[in-house]
């Protein structure tokens, strides 16, 4: 199994957020999690990425034959987990090129691969950016600094395409995007999809799923997955909302 979440319960500040959650993802699969606000979707994303604010009450997560709880944030990233943030943070004064260059090399180091040199990396970055329709000028700016919501999301997808993760988690990447930006972002995801990597897409609306075809859709309510199935579930939600699942 590629990613196996078993009986996961998590709390933060005395509030139980995830309750006995189970989820399995195989290589090459695209899963979507839909749910109303406050159902624990983003918590799941952050617990997977290793954010330290949460208390794990119970359960196990297995990722690529590792007990995920044995790995810290950067080790998980280096193992191929990528989180596209809902609200990417600004890092003033830090240019994307050295930032991503260090990131990719730390991953390569862990995988015992040779580091990529400055010049090859600059070329790689430029070509990925132009694939995603990102203006080269944007690469000269500081990470996320002064970016519009749409720019930030595109930038996340650019980083994802450079780091080429085994498991990409997209946390409400569609929120705040107009239809053109949404197309660019989803095109990027579709280009990256292979039979060796997997996607976990967290979203509120069905709209995103018009562009990315998930293999499975899960409905999350109140900290647990209450229903799983194919893309037909997304259409149900679009029609009737989350009411009937609650």
């Amino acid at each position: 199994m590629f990613l196996e979440i078993k009986d996961l319960s998590v709390k933060i500040e005395n509030k139980n957020i995830l309750k006995s959650l189970n989820l399995n993802i195989n290589k090459g699969e695209v899963h979507a999690i839909m749910g109303p606000n406050g159902s624990g979707k983003s918590t799941l994303a952050n617990v997977l990425a290793g954010k330290e604010d949460y208390e794990i009450l119970n359960g196990k997560i297995n990722f690529k034959d590792n007990d995920l709880f044995d790995l810290n944030i950067e080790e998980r990233a280096q193992e191929g987990m990528f989180l596209a943030f809902q609200y990417p943070v600004e890092i003033p004064g830090v240019n994307i090129t050295p930032f991503l260059h260090s990131a990719i090399n730390s991953k390569r180091k862990r995988m015992n691969e040779a580091e990529i040199d400055n010049l090859s990396f600059a070329k790689l970055l430029k070509s990925k950016a132009s694939d995603l329709g990102i203006n080269i000028d944007m690469l000269k700016r500081s990470v996320n600094t002064g970016f519009s919501g749409g720019e930030k999301k595109r930038y996340e997808i650019l980083q994802m395409s450079i780091l080429d993760p085994d498991l990409a988690i997209l946390d409400e990447t569609d929120s705040g995007l107009d239809i053109d930006a949404l197309k660019i972002v989803t095109d990027g995801v579709n280009k990256l999809k292979t039979k060796n990597n997997s996607f976990l897409i967290i979203t509120h609306y069905q709209k995103l799923l018009d562009y990315i075809k998930p293999d499975y859709v899960h409905v999350m309510v109140n900290g647990s997955i209450v229903k799983s199935g194919g893309s037909e579930i997304a259409s149900e939600i679009e029609k009737d909302g989350f009411q009937k699942f609650q």
Binding site: E74, I91, V94
Partner: protein, 483 residues
């Protein structure tokens, strides 16, 4: 951050202060302690004319009556001025070597170890270097090339011999010996330092650089630097410094005077990396430095850029006196304190002329148990019509045992002055760390990256050769302080 910086970080994790070695070399010292005989000894060693000795003795008599300035937010045991050597020279330096073949190979090796090769062909292209070892100037490179342009770049000792008119006119003209006790002390016992004169209309084609090294034990270093940019000229000057690791505190009290005449510009950059003491606060350099520039002529400009990472104690306020109309003063500073370091640093901008402008960008980063203070004074005198100042002071705290303090004074006697002041204090942002680590960077790399980003506004003011060094230094200074 590039992989080079990462490699440096790795190499430093074992030996944090790699400049901490001692060169075993015979040296020549007078007796410890400060009295008229010490001063006469120094003056005689340097073969100085009578007027210079008188100047020193006058400063000494002022010093005797003075108290150390007490305004700074620093605490340290009282300095015993009688327990310091005031002069130390590698043996055989009564006559300065004419060229490098006459220099003790051990000295050349020392500088190679420090990454400052003295052979001209190996010196970074376009940087002329004057090297000061303890109390004497060891070598000045590229002298011939500069002489063709009429540029004088030599040790101050040599300038006293060869250019007495310039020395008499300008030495002490910006920092009077009686200004405060450290300037009086320096004036009395200064040993060496650099002298620069750029003639009218000449744009100095290369960076001029001085490298200071304290080697001998219990020795104070009191260098004196004087830079004069004549009308319409330009010079960029770099200063670097290191010292061996020793358990005792060593005193460094330098004076730097800059004079920019009409339409002239001086850019002065420092990367200060004196030994900061160990993790428990033992040892390290006491760095009491007075740096002051005078924009004497119309449209002149003086710009100070400093990266302060070393020293147990830093007391330093590079300042500008904006006398000429339309003159400009700038101060860009990064001060990083770690372990038990204390820094009280900032600037003074004195607006005298009309339409004068000053800009202050200060970035303080505190880690460990350190204390970091920005202290600044911006004043506008009565005739400074339409003068402007912009000040930005940002402090970044890493951990919860350290302190950041900002003490800005503003004094305006002219109501057309425009003053802007921005200040911020922040802790290193957890969300930024999370974001970087999610991309695969270690906690330490992430901190280093964020701090380098925080300092970028200042680091980008440094000349290219220095900027890379400074960036590495910033990363190294953060070592072992996070997690």
């Amino acid at each position: 951050m590039n992989s080079e910086t990462l490699n440096t970080l790795d190499s430093y994790s074992k030996n944090k202060y790699k400049y901490g070695f001692v060169t075993e070399i015979d040296d020549e010292k007078p007796k410890k302690g400060l009295n008229e005989n010490t001063i006469k000894f120094i003056s005689q060693k340097k073969n100085e004319p009578e007027w210079m000795l008188d100047w020193r003795l006058k400063a000494y008599s002022k010093w005797k009556k003075m108290q150390e300035p007490k305004w700074a937010n620093l605490s340290f045991p009282e300095i015993d001025y009688q327990d310091i050597y005031y002069y130390s020279a590698p043996k055989g330096f009564e006559k300065k070597p004419k060229d490098l073949s006459e220099v003790d190979p051990k000295l050349i090796e020392t500088y190679n170890k420090l990454g400052i090769p003295l052979e001209e062909q190996k010196v970074l292209a376009g940087v002329a270097v004057d090297v000061v070892f303890d109390s004497v100037s060891v070598a000045t490179t590229y002298k011939g090339e500069l002489e063709k342009l009429g540029i004088i770049f030599c040790s101050i000792g040599e300038a006293i011999q060869k250019h007495p008119d310039l020395i008499k006119k300008y030495l002490g003209s910006v920092i009077p010996p009686g200004d405060h006790s450290f300037s009086a002390l320096n004036s009395a016992v200064f040993t060496d330092g650099s002298f620069v004169y750029i003639p009218e209309g000449v744009q100095c084609p290369m960076e001029l650089s001085t490298y200071f090294r304290i080697n001998a034990e219990n020795t104070g270093q009191f260098e004196r630097t004087l830079i004069i940019a004549d009308k319409g000229s330009y010079v960029s000057y770099l200063e670097g410094c290191t010292a061996p690791k020793r358990d005792d505190n060593q005193l460094h009290a330098a004076n730097v005077e800059l004079i920019a005449l009409e339409d002239a510009e001086i850019k002065y950059s420092t990367v200060q990396n004196w030994y900061p003491g160990d993790e428990d606060g033992k040892g390290g350099i006491y760095n009491f430095v007075t740096k002051r520039g005078l924009c004497a002529g119309k449209n002149s400009k003086i710009s100070w850029t400093q990266v302060e990472t070393g020293s147990a104690i830093t007391w330093k306020y590079p300042s500008c006196i904006l006398k000429g109309d339309n003159s400009i003063g700038e101060f860009y500073s990064v001060a990083i304190t770690n372990n038990f370091q204390q820094a009280d640093t900032g600037t003074k901008m004195t607006h005298i002329g009309r339409n004068t402008k000053s800009k202050i960008i200060s970035k303080g980063i505190s880690l460990g148990h350190s204390q970091n203070t920005y202290r600044g004074e911006v004043s506008f005198l009565r005739k400074a019509d339409k003068a402007r100042n912009y000040t930005q002071c940002d402090s970044l705290l890493v951990g919860n045992q350290c302190g950041a303090h900002t003490v800005p004074y503003i004094d305006s006697k002219n109501n057309t002055a425009v003053i802007e002041h921005e200040a911020s204090t922040s802790k290193i942002n957890e969300d930024q760390l999370y974001y970087c680590r999610q991309r695969g960077l270690s906690h330490e790399e992430a901190v280093s990256l964020i701090v380098n980003g925080f300092c970028k506004q200042v680091l980008q003011e440094l000349p290219m050769e220095f900027a890379v060094e400074a960036q590495k230094l910033v990363s190294i200074s953060l070592e072992g302080s996070v997690g």
